[in-house]
């Protein structure tokens, strides 16, 4: 076994043990530990933003800057792809 394979094996074992321990320490499904932000948004989102859909009120109103960053990433990706392939098409 070469040195590179040995290093990969050690790293794999460490990663597997870490993932196994962290999966044992997870909360049960549907019972988060801290619910301050959830209760705040569930109580106030329907009155403040007027949406019946809480997820959309978070995405477009409370966390609007996140959506702005996502739109910027998509714009940059499209601009890069079109810049590369437009030169190939000529």
């Amino acid at each position: 076994m070469s040195k590179r394979n040995l290093f990969a094996l050690i790293f794999f074992v460490i990663m597997a043990v870490f993932l196994f321990i962290s999966s044992l320490m997870m909360h049960p499904f549907g019972n988060p530990e801290k619910t301050n932000m959830d209760d705040e948004i569930i109580e106030n989102a329907q009155i403040e933003t007027g949406t019946n859909n809480g997820v959309t009120s978070v995405v477009f109103d409370y966390r609007g800057f996140d959506t702005l960053g996502e739109a910027t990433i998509l714009f940059t990706a499209v601009a890069g792809v079109i810049m590369i392939f437009r030169r190939m098409n000529k």
Partner: protein, 157 residues
Amino acid sequence: MNGMSRIVKTIASITFPLVMIYGLYIIAHGHLTPGGGFQGGAVVASGCAMILIAYGSVWTLGKIKEKNLSILESVGAICFITLAILGLGFGTVFFKNFLIGSEIIFGIIPSFGSTISNINTAGVIPLMNFAVGLKVIAGLFGIVLIMAYASTRRDKY
């Protein structure tokens, strides 16, 4: 990429309006049902990619140019940022929901709890959904279209 057989073209033509209706429904009802601009835009772009695979990229590029798709994507981005800046102008902060409570459009506030869905709610959020949906449709379909067209022209290189 050339077009496929007649069977594939017929089935794609039959299925295309259903996919369009589903995706546009997700975009338009983004503030009432699960989904929103990005999800509905991805569904509509998937339907357009199905037409592209069935009919070939040369035929599709005769119908719509990638320059127009690029312009549409920029229009979506500009609408999104303009709505955010209008919140700064009419309200107090960036991304302020300034249409809520007004009588112009989308101004009704539903009462607390599980209520009957009214599409005339949620202020500026449906307009942002439309802007982001336009942006995602044009962006994703533009990427797929120009990559498919470049793969047909590779024999020159």
